[in-house]
Symmetry: C3
Amino acid sequence: MSAEDRLQELGLTLPEVPSPVATYVSFKRVGDIVYLSGQGPKRADGTYPTGKVGTDVTIEEAYGHARQTGLGLLAAMKKAAGSLDKVEVVKLLGMVNGAPDFADQPKVINGCSDLFVAVLGENGRHARSAVGMGSLPNNMTVEIEAIVRVLP
Amino acid sequence: MSAEDRLQELGLTLPEVPSPVATYVSFKRVGDIVYLSGQGPKRADGTYPTGKVGTDVTIEEAYGHARQTGLGLLAAMKKAAGSLDKVEVVKLLGMVNGAPDFADQPKVINGCSDLFVAVLGENGRHARSAVGMGSLPNNMTVEIEAIVRVLP
Amino acid sequence: MSAEDRLQELGLTLPEVPSPVATYVSFKRVGDIVYLSGQGPKRADGTYPTGKVGTDVTIEEAYGHARQTGLGLLAAMKKAAGSLDKVEVVKLLGMVNGAPDFADQPKVINGCSDLFVAVLGENGRHARSAVGMGSLPNNMTVEIEAIVRVLP
């Protein structure tokens, strides 16, 4: 089953890849490696869920935000590789806007990791760190950056 | 126009690349990829601007600190690649020492991104994340690490 | 002297490489580059030292935690490369669970950097950033991720 079929089966639609808003770009390819800029859980209306995970936002809510972020990353991966079936996820840096004593960053970032494996199968499995930031742009709850390989 | 000409036109001078002060190095090259150690906005006298962006330090001030940090990274890139005209910036991790509710990390890190494009042209355009840290070495305001490619 | 001999001389034993507990893996290899997932200072009993460095935990204690984390990373490197003598450390991201005004992240992460050079010699020398996080998984004191090269 293709990655696009799995997306459809999961009832998911990829968002638009955000246009570069400054002197940086959504992704940069070097050989078969693509570096994806950090993304957050952008809603269809362009806003983001905000607040500190652990106080303002629950782990379950933030898991959903990480999953939403993953959809945006999949969209960028597809644009970079031409097809999701040619994408292998290599590495994630999963960043959670947590309260100072928040300790469940991995449970949050699983929202993205689980999505990648659901859509890409074994090619979605990756190395990662899931950590807590002091603050994030727009006060959003989650930001994730990724490194992927384009398969031949 | 060469990158060195652009630097001169901008009235900028590259600082010295800091010597390794411990068991790590300023940059490490693997094939045509160079990983640059994180740097901060070091002043000529060796000190750093300090404080939390959003409370102690304004966005405009921190933009200048990110630009200053970019100069140090350009110096390391030049040393690694031999010439700035052989450097393509691939990826930045822009880290801001922000107050817990600081939400404008991208506006700060633009100071570095804008400098790279001003000096390197299209080769300066990169993928990036711009995020908020809990704290930074020396209590400095900004730290940025970079991955670059050495052009043939 | 081989890396294994140096480990023995230092009286160190590598821990088990943790099994993937979710949809991610301990390391991912792409060509001769290996991306290692972030690890913390896991004790033999599976627990972690916790707290904020600078208030709950001293620099000296946290240096030891970074060293302990380095042992876990060496174990993963060995598994990825077959032998520690085929490992060259390229880049570390050293993340310290510091108090908001903590400013000595490099002194903490030296615990890992020093270990890599003690065990791997010149191949242990790397680019790095040593920074302060807002929070970390399990409220642990330190987390470090690494990129290494497998030598031919």
